[in-house]
């Protein structure tokens, strides 16, 4: 298998995620799109990890990095949904364009 197979898959996923972040206005959906971007990163990291592991068996940084990303993503989503819940309590909506009391 080619490394680029995985990297292109990662790039496609990354761009879909970026599209989602820019096109969606519901906070939960934006968060889901960010998860797509993080998964793209992880595909990259694991593919690179396998590639470097094949030449140097001691090199596991790619996998370890991916594990850290997963752990941090879990913390981020927990915090994000807590914020979303809090906002919903206060205004019964989580649309981002209604969150515009403050202007540039």
């Amino acid at each position: 298998m080619l490394v680029n197979q995985f990297l292109f898959l990662g790039a496609v996923l990354f761009c879909i995620g970026v599209y989602g972040v820019l096109a969606r206005r519901n906070a939960v959906l934006v968060l889901m799109s960010i998860e797509l971007v993080l998964n793209a990163v992880n595909i990259n990291l694991v593919a690179f990890g396998a590639m470097w592991h094949a030449t140097d068996p001691a090199n596991l940084s790619g996998q370890v990095f991916a594990l850290f990303v997963i752990a941090v993503a879990a913390a981020e989503v927990g915090v994000g949904l807590a914020l979303v819940l809090m906002i919903y309590r206060n205004r019964q909506s989580i649309d981002l364009d209604e969150v515009d009391l403050l202007k540039g």
Binding site: L7, G10, F14, G17, V21, A27, V30, L31, I34, V37, L38, A40, V41, N44, L45, A47, F48, M51, W52, T55, D56, N59, S61, G62, V64, F65, F68, V69, V72, A75, E76, V79, G80, A82, L83, V84, M86, I87, N90, R91, L96, V99, D100, L101, L102, K103, G104
Partner: protein, 503 residues
């Protein structure tokens, strides 16, 4: 089977506890605050703030002993380095964390907020910044960034029932998480290209190329953009004014000073230790970011009617000044040295003067319940002390001696000139023009304070709580002493050195 197992023998990493002592003290303080908060009643709630403050000061002790010892301590194969540079910045983070605790004490206690948890998150964020000062590895930098940011997202939304504060938190959170995802993509391709997450190993592999490969350019640009968000560089600044206005004011001070400084520390680590040889990539990017950031920050600051928003935009402009030396850092090792020193000095002085300005705003807002510029009218007639202090901080921000800001700005000009090329000189002119623009809005606030009438005629003096007074005394003393005797500061910053290459 046994032989097979033996091949996975685990090498215990050598951990230098002395070098990690400042971080351990802060982490322990976090746990102590957590336990106290869990086992005491409503009337002992004040203890959280005192313990957090004491913990941050105690953590300065190992920082001092490490500095006295002077040796550079390297751990985890170069992934964690405790040197003069890291120690100076750790001291900065601890002290600004302490001042923020002082600013928070009354605000949080009187506002019916969650108190113990507030200080726990603050300590966690400070811990992330301290780790960032020593991190020389992509994974450590990423994890430190998240540890300093995630508590900050939640602190920004701490005024739970206030819609503005909610919005501050969510905006900051979504943009921050997205920026760190983009940064991670950059880190992943840099790892893929070099096969290492250690900045010291990345540097030779990407530095030896004659011109940059597209993938390296992509990786570096993505990583730097991720941190451009953190330091609120234009065009990634849109979260900053809203978040600053909506967040509780002590948190705003924390974000504007400590969090921003941590972003710059990460940029310095990455550029100096990892990407230094690739100046064909980061120099133009930094040039554009710096010029845009200071110009747009200043122009929008001119239009603000709210002091906190004005300080937010002035902070964006200041971030532009701090980015400027990075635009010439790659031209020679000497220029890199100059740039590094000017940035560290600027960060230290910026912390003192900006925290001071926020302290005054908080003290005044205790009486006026507002941060609109008009409410500062005639401040001198009933709060002369605060007016003088604010004038000192504004002089410093504008770069007028004897307040410390002039020394910081001279450093930036010297660094830009040291490259000796057109891009450096042009950027120096941009900095100079912007410094003049900035006089306008600092001067306007000054005029309102000294000349205008009190808007509602209420001239009862402001009662400033002890903790805010202490914060004011600390920041004003630092601003004034460094401004008059810059040697006090350069004594600590002169030994700093961060280049992995070119030595």
């Amino acid at each position: 089977m046994l032989a097979h197992l033996a091949s996975f023998a685990w090498d215990a990493p050598s951990v230098d506890l002395h070098a990690l002592a400042p971080e351990i003290v802060v982490a322990a303080t976090l746990v102590v605050v957590l336990v106290i908060d869990a086992f005491t009643g409503e009337e002992q709630r004040w203890a959280a703030s005192s313990v957090a403050g004491i913990g941050l000061l105690v953590a300065l002790v190992p920082v001092a002993t490490l500095a006295y010892d002077g040796a550079t301590r390297v751990m985890f194969g170069g992934g964690y380095v405790v040197d003069d540079y890291a120690l100076v910045l750790k001291a900065l983070f601890l002290l600004s964390g302490y001042v923020v605790v002082l600013l928070s004490t009354n605000y949080i206690a009187e506002g019916d907020y969650w108190e113990g948890e507030y200080y726990q998150l603050l300590l966690a964020s400070v811990l992330g910044m301290m780790v960032m000062a020593s991190a020389r590895d992509l994974i450590s930098i990423f994890v430190a960034l998240e540890l300093l940011s995630i508590p900050a997202y939640m602190l920004a939304a701490w005024r739970k029932r206030d819609l503005k504060s909610d919005e501050a938190g969510v905006k900051y959170y979504l943009m921050g998480v997205f920026a760190s995802a983009v940064m991670l993509y950059g880190m992943s391709v840099i790892y893929g290209y070099t096969g290492s997450t250690l900045l010291a190993e990345i540097a030779p592999r990407i530095g030896e190329l004659v011109t940059s490969e597209p993938i390296i350019t992509l990786g570096i640009v993505f990583v730097l953009i991720g941190f451009g968000f953190k330091v609120s560089a234009v065009p990634f600044h849109t979260w900053a004014p809203d978040t600053y206005e909506g967040a509780p004011t002590p948190v705003t001070a924390f974000l504007a000073v400590a969090s921003k400084a941590a972003g710059f520390v990460a940029l310095l680590n990455l550029i100096y230790v990892g990407f230094w040889g690739r100046h064909d990539v980061y120099e133009p990017l930094m040039w554009v970011l710096a010029a845009l950031t200071m110009t747009i920050g200043n122009l929008i600051a001119l239009r603000q009617t709210n002091v906190v928003r004005m300080l937010a935009y002035s902070g964006i402009a200041q971030a532009g000044y701090i980015l400027a030396p990075l635009a010439i850092a790659g031209s020679s090792p000497e220029a890199a040295d100059q740039a590094l020193h000017s940035i560290v000095v600027y960060l230290l002085i910026y912390a003192a003067m900006n925290l001071g300005a926020f302290a005054v705003v908080m003290a005044v807002a205790r009486k006026t319940r507002s941060a609109e510029i008009d409410t500062f009218g005639g401040l001198f007639s009933y709060a002369p002390g605060l007016t003088v202090a604010m004038s000192l901080f504004l002089f410093s921000l504008a770069g007028v001696p004897p307040a410390a800001g002039w020394f910081a700005k001279i450093g930036i000009f010297q660094a830009l000139a040291s490259a000796g090329d057109t891009s450096g000189y042009v950027l120096a002119v941009v900095v100079a023009v912007n410094s003049v623009i900035a006089f306008a809005y600092y001067g306007r606030l000054m005029r309102v304070m000294w000349m205008d009438d009190v808007p509602d005629g209420d001239t009862t003096p402001i009662r400033v709580p002890t903790s805010i007074t202490a914060a004011l005394v600390i920041t004003a003393a630092v601003t004034l002493v460094i401004g008059v005797v810059p040697g006090v500061l350069t004594h600590f910053t002169d030994p700093i050195n961060l280049l992995a290459l070119g030595r």
